[in-house]
């Protein structure tokens, strides 16, 4: 039920954001770079608002202690982050399809768009899940988790924008390839180190 609520909130946030951006830029013919930038800003805020909930809810409802008692930290982190990865990718794809549909922007390199979107969403999910866990025991956990996640995600957004703008027809192919490799590397680094960092603070 909690999972459904998170997914529905994420999807609703995407639809509202796409509508708001399209409405605000109604009379403008947008460049690929602007479209890519707006898309990633929407993804960034959608993720940092909804994904940390997965750990914050455990602390708020008092079930975190049960998990600490019976769960292995790696298993708990993977369980939580895989769900967040799924939610992030679904929300990201929906947001992208809706946004490109509303702005009538054509995709020049579809595979690059798909790679950047999926790798970017996986990185977002991994980093935000970890930040949610780090902030989960603070009294101002909801605000704090977003505040500490956003600076870590801004480099990712810059790579995402570089990749998606090339996929939408702006910039050189080599730049897009570099960004895609960077995003895949970021996703691997985040998901590989996340469980270890989480394990170190699991019973603090």
């Amino acid at each position: 039920m909690r999972s459904q609520s998170g997914l529905v909130t994420g999807v609703l946030f995407s639809v509202v954001t796409v509508y708001a951006i399209s409405f605000a830029t109604l009379s403008e013919k947008l460049h690929g770079t602007v479209v890519a930038g707006l898309l990633w800003v929407a993804l960034l805020f959608s993720s940092s608002a909804s994904l940390p909930r997965i750990f914050l809810a455990e602390e708020e409802q008092g079930t975190a202690e049960l998990l600490r008692m019976v769960g292995r930290p790696h298993a708990v982190f993977w369980g939580k982050s895989l769900f967040n990865c799924l939610q992030s990718v679904v929300t990201g794809i929906l947001l992208c399809v809706l946004y490109l549909g509303f702005t009538s922007k054509s995709v020049t390199v579809p595979w690059l768009l798909a790679v950047c979107l999926i790798a970017g969403c996986l990185s977002l999910a991994g980093a935000v899940t970890l930040c949610g866990a780090i902030a989960s025991q603070a009294s101002n956990r909801a605000v704090l988790s977003a505040a500490i996640a956003v600076p870590l995600l801004l480099p990712l957004v810059s790579l995402g924008v570089s990749g998606v703008r090339v996929a939408l027809g702006d910039g050189a192919a080599s730049e897009g390839n570099g960004a895609a490799i960077g995003l895949i590397g970021y996703a691997c680094a985040t998901l590989a180190t996340g469980p270890w960092i989480f394990a170190a603070v699991w019973k603090s």
Partner: protein
């Protein structure tokens, strides 16, 4: 025996004198550096070469800010090592002194690093106004360093959010480790991406490309060395202050135990239940 005592006293006095001489020498060298940075011949390639001298003081700041961020993360890693990276091995020999010391080193590095980060931004903004005509020109280098500043700020926000010392050390240490990849990317990769590089006004290969040479180059190296020495001194002082605070807290705890309000404790003894007939 008595001779040894006098010899030890002499040595201590000698060390104190040596420290005073070194401190005086450092202040003199700093004075030389300030004068030199005003009189050094102009470097080529700047729009207003005379006003570009702030570069001499700007350059060491980001170097040290990034180094201290990485060192802070390393100290956090050593802190986790001193506890136990595997939460299932509840180690009896957990080294609390080592844990506290590494946390202290980590926060000392972060605090001084944050100071250098602020100095980087301040000197960079001055340079931007003089050379590019605007206090803030959304230059990718400026922007990426602003994000590093935000990462530092987030670290301190996290530290302030936890009142319990153990939790504060663990969670902020974890965040320090999580910042390594994004920070390295922001400082070393992002400004060198081809598209970003084409937008940037900031010189990116001044040192690597050998553009800073001659007396200008020597002056940069001299200031970098002096500021590094100052950083080491500040770091040691900060750690010492932290240790004194911890010592004071321990002493307070001991006094508390001796006084009227000792910490709760107890002794295990057998249970005697009244016999019910």
């Amino acid at each position: 025996m008595c001779d040894v005592g006098y010899w030890a006293l002499d040595l201590c006095g000698g060390l104190e004198k040596l420290k005073t001489i070194l401190r005086t020498l450092y202040v003199l060298l700093m004075g030389v550096a300030i004068v030199w940075s005003y009189t050094v011949p102009d470097a080529v390639g700047f729009q207003k070469p005379g006003m570009a001298r702030i570069f001499l003081w700007h350059f060491p700041c980001p170097m040290l800010a990034v180094f201290l961020l990485m060192y802070g993360a390393w100290c956090a890693f050593r802190m986790f090592q001193s506890i136990s990276l595997s939460p299932f091995q509840f180690k009896a020999e957990t080294n609390y002194d080592a844990k506290v010391l590494w946390d202290l080193r980590s926060v000392a590095a972060m605090e001084i690093g944050y100071l250098f980060c602020l100095l980087t931004m301040a000197t960079g903004i001055l340079f931007s106004e003089v050379q590019w005509g605007a206090w803030w020109s959304w230059d990718p280098r400026q922007t990426s360093f602003l994000i590093v500043l935000l990462i530092y700020a987030a670290y301190f926000a996290l530290r302030f959010a936890y009142s319990d010392g153990g939790k504060r050390a663990a969670f902020s240490g974890a965040y320090a480790l999580a910042t390594i990849v994004p920070s390295l990317f922001l400082v070393f990769v992002f400004p060198r991406l081809p598209y970003i590089k084409s937008l940037s006004l900031h010189p990116s290969d001044s040192i690597v490309g050998g553009l800073i040479k001659g007396q200008y180059g020597q002056c940069v190296c001299f200031i970098l060395a002096l500021v590094t020495v100052l950083t080491v001194y500040l770091f040691k002082m900060r750690v010492q202050v932290g240790l004194l605070e911890i010592g004071l807290e321990k002493r307070n705890g001991q006094l508390e135990n001796l006084g009227n309000n000792p910490a709760p404790t107890g002794v295990v003894r057998p249970v005697y239940l009244p016999k019910s007939d």
